[in-house]
């Protein structure tokens, strides 16, 4: 287990403008080990990977050593020549090129004719070494996500890897695919290739790692032997705080139902989902990614149409054609993908905040004054305690947590009766997380029915009155947080 040290970082700093992404990192990876790197979003994991792989140059003063020799300055080519390969979270593949070319793209560097036969041969060899069979001439954008992952790993191996970083490789995989991936990681490690596995799924981390390094706020918290850590401790190390306040779940079943679905089905996404959300209730919806949670929520919000089943709001049957219908019926939906589906990054806070309620701001002439817009924005900024210089600043000047609050304000400004929060604290720092939990409780006290979609146990237990477990598009369980522990529920989900 204890091979020689392969990669070593000494006092590595990295600053972007005034933001310190890495603050004095001292870290090492040994040959052939499986090393997990964990930490909250924005803690510097990705920056660390980019520094080691030569994408970002670290600030002067630190060392990156490979085999004991300082290798700075690094560029991507040199890092790969030294045996460091990265499987990026976005995979960084060429969607228009074939599987073979993606795997053995290095053969296309430089000038002259492209060695097509050699590329095919190499790709075939690597894939068989991985034990996978993919159509070599197929363009990558025709593959599934799991298959693309294999291509990305194969590309790493083609470059004679000695250390492979895998940045959140399991984020969009199904359970079976994850299991296959973890087997592959063990196989590579047995061949003497070190793997640094970045993940936020703690069950995977515990299942696979030999050593675990925890990062927080751009610093190393420490490196631990995997055997000596339980998940609670790990969370504590990652966040620095214990979310102690366990919410006392209430029984809301006697209250009037706000939202009810009966046998709602959309083929290939979810099947026969029947849920009831009562007034003032916080209902959790958990399950693996791809279990149909988000797809179900999108249908509730009128973004997609169910094939069959009924949806009732305030006891009346609704068929939403668009999300404007859903908004008019008192629904609001905060997407999990804040960057792509939430914010309009370069636009101002005002623009982002009032976009959903613009028609309601019009005066009797049908126009919207700047004053009315700014006032609304400043109101909500104050109410949700959003830290801003000016509401006219672009929203991407805010931290992730404050961005999320602006998005929450966007929907709260519409005075929803039913609020759907899809992974509401992704990329939000711990302090803002607690603030958002408090807000959820406050809203539910005002009678708003809230559906929280999440795979973070802490989040669910801190806010929910009832938790539904979704699996393969169906509701597989209905639990009260009072009668099940976090561990037991997690075991159910990852079973």
């Amino acid at each position: 287990m204890t091979g020689a040290v392969f990669l070593e970082l000494c006092h590595v700093h990295k600053t972007f403008g005034s933001f310190q992404a890495l603050r004095g990192i001292d870290w090492d990876v040994r040959e052939g080990e499986i090393h997990c790197l964990v930490g909250e979003n924005g803690c510097g994991k990705s920056t660390l990977i980019k520094a080691v792989s030569g994408v970002h140059a670290p600030d002067p003063g630190g060392d990156i050593r490979i085999g004991g020799r300082n290798v700075l300055p690094l560029d991507p080519m040199r890092a790969r020549a030294l045996g460091i390969q990265v499987v990026f979270q976005d995979l960084a593949l060429f969607p228009n090129l074939s599987v073979a070319e993606n795997i053995a793209f290095d053969a296309n560097l430089g000038r002259g004719f492209s060695p097509r036969a050699a590329i095919r041969r190499k790709a075939k060899e690597i894939l068989s070494r991985l034990g996978h069979d993919l159509p070599l001439e197929c363009p990558v954008d025709a593959l599934s996500i799991a298959e693309r992952q294999i291509v990305a790993i194969a590309r790493g191996l083609a470059g004679e890897a000695r250390l492979i970083f895998m940045d959140e490789p399991t984020a969009s995989l199904t359970r079976a695919e994850v299991r296959r991936l973890l087997d592959l990681v063990r196989k590579l490690s047995a061949e003497g290739i070190a793997i640094v596995f970045v993940s936020h799924r703690l069950d995977e981390v515990s299942a696979i790692a030999e050593r675990i390094t925890v990062m927080r706020d751009g610093r190393m918290v420490g490196t631990y032997a995997a055997s000596g850590l339980d998940q609670r401790t790990l969370i504590h190390l990652m966040t620095g705080i214990e979310i102690a306040t366990h919410h006392a779940p209430r029984d809301c079943s006697a209250r009037p139902a706000l939202l009810e679905t009966r046998q709602l089905t959309r083929k290939g996404e979810y099947e026969n989902v029947s849920i009831t959300l009562h007034e003032g209730e916080v209902l959790g919806l958990t399950g693996l990614l791809g279990a149909g949670r988000t797809e179900f929520a999108l249908s509730l919000f009128g973004m997609t149409r169910p094939d069959s089943g009924t949806l009732l709001v305030h006891g009346r049957e609704c068929r939403f054609r668009t999300n404007q219908d859903a908004l008019a019926a008192g629904l609001a939906y905060v997407s999990e993908d804040r960057l792509n589906l939430g914010i309009n990054a370069e636009q101002s806070i005002v623009d982002n905040l009032d976009i959903a309620v613009l028609p309601r701001l019009a005066n009797r002439f049908g126009t919207i004054t700047d004053r009315a817009r700014v006032q609304l924005a400043e109101d909500w900024v104050a109410r949700l305690n959003i830290k801003v210089n000016s509401v006219q600043d672009a929203i991407n000047t805010l931290s992730g947590g404050n961005q999320q609050r602006v998005i929450l304000a966007r929907w709260l400004a519409s005075h929803p009766k039913i609020l759907i929060l899809d992974s509401p604290t992704v990329g939000v720092d711990i302090k803002n997380k607690e603030g958002i939990y408090a807000l959820i409780r406050e809203l539910s006290a005002q009678g708003v029915g809230i559906l929280v979609i999440s795979d973070e146990m802490i989040e669910l237990f801190a806010t929910c009155d009832r938790i539904l477990h979704m699996r393969n598009g169906r509701i597989a369980g209905d639990y009260s947080p009072a009668h099940i522990t976090e561990q037991a529920l997690e075991a159910q989900i990852y079973a």
């Binding site: 999300n323 792509n340 914010i343 309009n344 370069e346 700047d370 000047t397 931290s399």
Partner: protein, 345 residues
């Protein structure tokens, strides 16, 4: 996680009372736009110093006659650009409107009738043109929404079809036959200011109001910066997109009205060289070619700048082509300067 990098916002350090006083002005003319205003002013002063007669009433009036046409077409181009698109069909639509109006007017028995009757007919024909322009734009928008094909390609196709139809129906010839009244109104002046210029200002004012102070206008820029997020924010992106191109088509009609007055005729080939110049004008006016940003005030100032350059060089005896080259160079210069400023930040 680059999205989490807290970038420090620019801190505004002036006192509260100053802010309040200047606020309405700054809203209308934010930093970028006031830069353009300064540039326009500098150009005006520069030309009046080196070009004798630059500041004469005559040259001012000729500028005001020339500017509105390109100005309206640039508006028609700018609005789709703000939404992240492009409308290559604007000239074709404007010419189609002009041809339709002339043809209809030519077939009406106007000779021997009084001014009132002729005026009534002109109004009716204007309505025909407006409906045609808006409808052509609307169809363009509908196609973009339904096919999800890049607007460049859809509008390229529409351009070919509309222009081709115009050429086919007219055999490529110039069509004239406007009643004299039309030209009289179109070339009239109010207190020495050409009516066309006033009409341009009025249209620009209405478009400004639409863009800045209605849900429709604000949504345009939101769609330009992130269409998907805007759709998730319960904005009917499809309907807004159709309206964007319909409005663009309507502005083409407005431009067609002015072109009719100016040339006293219509043709499928008029103003073709303006097509790509409108893109330059829009970008110079602060419209982000990738969508999301742009104001009417900036565009109007850019038009004034371009017109000052054109008239100044014309008076200096330079050819139109040199003016065109200088417009292009100005745009390249501005674009480079902007990217350098961005880099330094």
């Amino acid at each position: 996680m680059s999205e989490n990098l807290p970038v420090t916002g620019n801190k505004t350090g002036h006192s509260a009372s100053m802010t309040d006083l200047a606020a309405p002005f700054r809203r209308l003319f934010p930093a970028r736009v006031s830069g353009q205003a300064l540039a326009a002013l500098a150009l005006a002063i520069g030309f009046s110093l080196i070009v004798p007669g630059f500041f004469s009433l005559g040259s001012m009036r000729s500028m005001m006659f020339q500017l509105p046409q390109l100005g309206l077409l640039a508006l028609a181009m700018a609005i789709p650009m703000m939404s992240g698109g492009l409308n290559l069909a604007i000239i074709a639509i404007a010419n189609a409107c002009g041809l339709a109006m002339v043809t209809v007017l030519g077939h009406l028995p106007l000779a021997g009738h009084g001014t009132g009757y002729v005026g009534f007919c002109i109004v009716i024909v204007l309505m025909v043109g407006a409906v045609l322009g808006t409808a052509l734009g609307g169809v363009t928008g509908w196609l973009i929404v339904r096919t999800k094909v890049h607007p460049i390609l859809v509008t390229l196709g529409i351009m070919s079809i509309v222009e081709g139809t115009s050429i086919w129906l007219t055999r490529g010839e110039v069509v004239s036959g406007l009643p004299a009244l039309y030209g009289q109104i179109g070339n009239a002046s109010l207190a020495q200011i050409p009516l066309a210029f006033l009409a341009f200002l009025a249209v620009a004012g209405v478009v400004h109001l639409l863009l800045q102070h209605t849900a429709f206008g604000i949504s345009i820029r939101m769609i330009g910066s992130n269409a998907l997020a805007t759709r998730y924010s319960a904005v009917d992106v499809d309907r807004v997109t159709i309206r964007i191109y319909a409005l663009s088509g309507f502005l083409c009609f407005c431009a067609a009205c002015l072109m009719l007055a100016r040339f006293n005729s219509a043709s499928a080939a008029y103003a073709k060289s303006y097509l790509l110049v409108t893109v330059l004008a829009a970008v110079l006016g602060g419209v982000d070619p990738n969508g999301g940003f742009g104001r009417v005030t900036g565009l109007v100032l850019a038009m004034i700048m371009l017109q000052l350059i054109a008239t100044g060089f014309n008076l200096l005896g330079f050819s139109d082509y040199l003016t065109l080259a200088i417009w292009g160079l100005v745009l390249i210069g501005v674009a480079c300067a902007q990217s350098m400023v961005k880099k330094r930040r």
